[in-house]
């Protein structure tokens, strides 16, 4: 019953949106997504003044049920099969069970995927160590607090063990939570053999074929290694190897200054390494709001044992061998001329991640990946080579490349489950926060200032920027961590939050007040009445909202002003 409902709605999609997606499937910038994300907003309160693309251009009908690739089975083994048990697949599975779906999850490697085993989770363990080392090593900081600490040291094996233990603990937590809920965990690599049909099995064993009404691809990604770079896993490594912390080199070059590169620079410098960043773009930390990246550079790069080369590609990296160090050839990004040669003890390749979609059997259903990414629409429905939707097939997480973050994958998975259980849902990617766990942390949600300005010009509205400093926050000063900035980009006419960027102590935890406000469509004039405990870091955001100058009056029916109890 559910299926009929969702099906009819799901098959009508504006053509304009296709065109947009096929142009830039790996566009990680938020601005492009904004239009459609808000378009089909399910929130009635936030619909005013927004572009509603969904209401026009419902031109193309897709006769999906008459697929050419075999006949779909009449009855199914499962309601939902998820290929890939990473954070995205796990989030989807849990929500599917909650919605009463019979669910199976196929995993060819270990439960937990990149995030838990080779990404966010073990790296947080290393960063927890680096944060403490950094604090203990900062004599100035300790003195200011009146503390005396004799020389801080670390045991590499112990640190690596902590990261590994954390990963296995979280992994078993994930496995147990799925088992407890009755999700079938099928072991082996999943391949789509036809509509609503998946085979799985370990190499050398007979394949099992299972059918499901709906299938979600959540196969994630692997570290991307540009050509010319030879990874030996010892001196030239990716994040997969670095997280094992098998050695701490004296001098490590980090290729790429995004989240991964930055976090590792924090770890390595705290453990005594010197770091050289190699960034292809003209400035470090290109993904961040320029003001934040400038401040971050002043705090995270300049005073540390880090130097950098910007505007250059590492075109050739040879691992250390025969008594020679790691050799890195730098080529100017613009002129393509050889610029410099570096000789370092190790190189970490942090140039991003590539989707892991090989062997998925996408050819069986006429889907062509774009640079490896599975093309999807804004509802994560997979699009085939002809631009038509593939019925009952969805792709979430890194494999679709919309927003390569673990929690984004999970949110996309939940959105898909909502759809297949009869409630139309489109995830607003602009409300998905992102964080970089350096010391101090960086976090953001929504648009950067340049993106907001561009949008403002295009759509003809005004924007304003408000800022507050951690220096004015009591709790931050008590911690002696006054370095930091919170920045709000908003529309002064209606109080809409366009973006919030935070650099400072616990920024990653602070961002959610802003991301929730964006997700729920809460306006500044309303949220500024919310009360924050004193003294807490959350007052940085309180002050930020209060310092915004919004012309629109607070809503009369603001939920916050109406006491629920008492």
């Amino acid at each position: 019953m559910h299926s009929t409902l969702s099906f009819s709605r799901a098959t009508t999609v504006p053509t304009t949106n296709y065109a947009f997606h096929s142009q830039s499937p790996i566009n990680l910038r938020f601005c492009g997504l904004r239009r459609e994300a808000f378009g089909i907003s399910i929130l009635t309160r936030s619909s005013s003044g927004r572009v509603r693309l969904s209401t026009r251009g419902r031109s193309k009908r897709i006769s999906a049920s008459t697929g050419n690739n075999g006949t779909p089975p009449k009855s199914f083994d499962y309601d939902l099969i998820i290929i890939g048990a990473g954070v995205g697949g796990h989030g989807a599975a849990l929500h599917a069970v909650e919605k009463g779906l019979k669910t199976a999850i196929i995993e060819g490697d270990v439960v937990g995927g990149t995030c838990v085993n080779r990404g966010c989770v073990p790296s947080k363990a290393l960063l927890a160590v680096s944060g403490r080392m950094r604090e203990l090593q900062s004599e100035h900081h300790m003195k200011a607090l009146g503390l005396q600490v004799s020389a801080a040291g670390y045991d590499r094996q112990g640190v690596a063990g902590h990261a590994n233990n954390l990963a296995s603990k979280i992994r078993s937590n994930l496995t147990n939570s799925m088992k407890a809920l009755g999700v079938d965990i099928l072991t082996g690599f999943g391949t789509i053999v036809g509509p609503q049909k998946v085979k799985y099995g370990k190499v050398g064993f007979t394949d099992n074929v299972v059918t499901a009404k709906d299938i979600i691809i959540a196969t994630g990604s692997v570290p991307f290694v540009p050509k010319g770079i030879e990874v030996d896993g010892k001196t030239v490594i990716t994040s997969d190897h670095a997280l094992k912390l098998e050695f701490v080199p004296d001098w490590i070059a980090i290729v790429g200054s995004g989240y991964i590169g930055l976090e590792f620079s924090d770890v390595y410098t705290a453990l005594g390494s010197e770091v050289t960043f190699i960034e292809a773009l003209d400035q470090l930390m290109p993904g961040f709001d320029p003001e934040i990246s400038k401040l971050a550079q002043r705090v995270l790069i300049n005073p540390r044992k880090i130097d950098y080369h910007t505007g250059v590609f590492a075109t050739k990296i040879t691992p250390a061998r025969d008594g020679k160090p790691v050799i890195i050839e730098l080529t100017d990004a613009k002129t393509k001329e050889h610029k410099d040669t570096l000789e370092v003890d190790a190189a970490l390749i942090a140039t991003g991640r590539a989707p892991f979609t090989n062997g998925l059997g996408l050819e069986n259903i006429n889907v062509v990946t774009q640079r490896g990414f599975v093309p999807v629409d804004e509802r994560m429905r997979v699009i085939d080579a002809n631009g038509n939707l593939v019925p009952h097939l969805y792709c979430i997480g890194d494999a679709n490349g919309k927003m390569m973050l673990a929690h984004a994958a999970s949110a996309q998975g939940i959105s898909v489950v909502e759809q297949v259980t009869g409630r139309d849902h489109v995830l607003n990617h602009l409300s998905v926060p992102a964080a970089c766990f350096t010391h101090p942390e960086i976090s953001m949600v929504g648009l950067t200032e340049p993106q907001a300005r561009e949008k403002a010009v295009k759509e003809g509205f005004e924007i304003s920027v408000a800022k507050t400093s951690f220096k004015a926050n009591t709790k931050a000063l008590a911690e002696n961590e006054g370095e930091g900035l919170a920045k709000l980009i908003y529309r002064p006419d209606n109080g809409e939050i366009l973006g919030v960027h935070i650099f400072g102590l616990h920024a990653a935890d602070l961002i959610h007040e802003a991301s929730n406000a964006i997700a729920l469509g809460t306006r500044i004039q309303d949220i500024k009445f919310a009360v924050h405990a004193h003294p807490t870091l959350s007052e940085v955001l309180d002050e930020l909202f209060k310092s915004a100058k919004v012309k629109a009056p607070a809503s009369t029916s603001s939920p916050i002003s109406e006491p629920v109890a008492a």
Binding site: E274, R298, E343, S469
Partner: protein
């Protein structure tokens, strides 16, 4: 005027570390007399602000400024603020770079009224700040003068002196004969901060890479240069009431000494009659034989019979029996000490050994010892006899098994076995050893052998 300014700032040039700008107040007053070149001050952005950090310069040197235009972003204790120019003109010189901190009221930049005055203003800012090109130009000269004074590093394998480049021992293979400088990120940062020209620094890191300690050593070398450059050199340059940081070598000594505390040592002393040795020395002195060489030779010959005393304990679990007997002899040099090594002292004849010793001492004084010439010792001799010291004990250098402290040979009244009293020259030796590998009986037997050799030294000359 420039001269006046320069002299007033002379003291600060002795330290290459960037001094805070507090001192520039005096200059600012004198500069204000010339109205054409104005200063931009660190403003007081709040009542509690005492100093401000330059976040960023919005203009660069040479840019035209109009009145009221933002020039610089300053971070105070409260917030970041744009600072505007009160006058029109050209930003002639930035005196505090981005990231630098300056007290409220001190000059952070110079503003020239016309473009022509930019150069003049620049010169002024340079003569008053430490980051002057003049200083940089002078530096190589200073370093050369300083060279004899720069201590050769005891533990650091290379000597951070301009001259040292010619040693060719530590030129990075990738540096293409010195054209390319390979320095670690922190070394580069330090070099900038301490105003050390990396071209003059020899690296001691992997494959000859310049690392932070090389730059630090080079930076320390420069101020040392300042004192002999003065026309009348003041005593050995110790300023009372000051705290003087260790040189690289002193730092290394300090580390080694502290490290030695982790070794369980004990000491055994012995009195040796030296009449025969003294007689031998008198006889062959004219052939260039030195007492040090004789003692080293005697010790080496004794060690041949007691290999355990020539062993060491590397890992706490085993004896490392050294294949050769290399006698290290402590030599005091300016600002520290070094231990040139007489290799295979048991096999080399006394004359060659003496020549070798002379050569090593000369090299040590010229700071040209190669690492293998000072860190390969298996047994150490330390002799303070020439100062009249009759006995002392030594600290065991890490990585070796024993060290022998040799006192002065002095005439003493001695009762001999046959019941007579006579005068004999006697010296006291005292061996400090690592008890993990060398036990009391080992040392006793070794000392007995040594005493026999010294008292009947015919074997020393073969």
């Amino acid at each position: 005027m420039a001269n006046v300014l320069q002299t007033s700032f002379l003291p600060s040039t002795s330290s290459l570390r960037r001094r805070s700008i507090s001192g520039s107040k005096g200059k600012s007053q004198s500069l204000q007399v010339k109205a054409k070149i104005r200063e931009i001050f660190m403003p007081a952005l709040s009542s509690t602000m005492t100093e401000g950090k330059i976040v960023s310069w919005m203009k660069s040197e040479g840019d035209k400024l109009s009145k009221g235009e933002s020039v610089v972003v300053v971070e105070s204790d409260k917030a970041d603020m744009d600072v505007e120019s009160f006058h029109e003109g050209f930003l002639a010189a930035i005196m505090v770079e981005e990231g630098g901190v300056a007290p409220v009221g001190s000059a952070i930049a110079l503003l020239a009224e016309t473009e022509d005055e930019i150069a003049e203003a620049k010169a002024k800012s340079q003569s008053s700040s430490n980051s002057t090109p003049q200083v940089v130009e002078e530096k190589p000269k200073q370093i050369e003068e300083a060279a004899p004074d720069v201590p050769a590093a005891a533990a650091a394998p290379s000597v951070p002196v301009a001259k040292a480049v010619t040693l060719g021992s530590a030129v990075h293979p990738a540096s293409e004969g010195g054209k390319r400088i390979v320095a670690s990120p922190y070394a580069k940062k330090l070099a900038k901060e301490l105003k050390v020209d990396l071209g003059t620094v020899v690296g001691s890191g992997p494959l000859g890479r310049i690392v932070a300690k090389d730059v630090e050593a080079a930076a320390v070398a420069v101020p040392v240069a300042a004192s002999p450059a003065k026309p009348d050199p003041v005593a050995p340059g110790i300023e009372l009431g000051t705290v003087v940081p260790f040189t690289t070598m002193q730092g290394a000594v300090s580390r080694n000494m502290v490290e030695s505390l982790s070794v369980p040592t004990f000491r055994v002393g012995y009195t040796i009659t030296t009449n025969a040795l003294d007689a031998l020395y008198k006889k062959i002195k004219s052939k260039g034989v030195t007492m040090t060489a004789l003692l080293a030779k005697a010790t080496a010959l004794a060690l041949v019979q007691h290999p355990v005393v020539n062993s060491c304990c590397r890992d706490g679990n085993s004896f490392t029996y050294n294949s050769s007997i290399n006698i290290a002899v402590a030599v005091a040099i300016d600002g520290g000490l070094i231990t040139p090594v007489l290799q295979d002292a048991d096999k080399v004849d006394i004359y060659t050994l003496s020549r070798k010793w002379k050569e090593l001492v000369d090299k040590a004084r010229a700071k040209q010892l190669q690492p293998h010439e000072y860190n390969t010792g298996t047994f150490t001799l330390s002799n303070l006899g020439m100062f009249g010291v009759d006995r002392f004990d030594a600290i065991l250098p890490p990585g070796t098994g024993a060290i022998m402290a040799v006192g002065a040979s002095q005439p003493s009244v001695v009762a001999s076995m046959d019941g007579r009293i006579g005068m004999k020259n006697q010296m006291q030796v005292n061996v400090t050893a690592d008890h993990r590998v060398i036990y009391g009986a080992d040392l006793a037997a070794f000392l007995q052998t040594l005493a026999k050799i010294v008292e009947d030294p015919k074997d020393l000359t073969f």
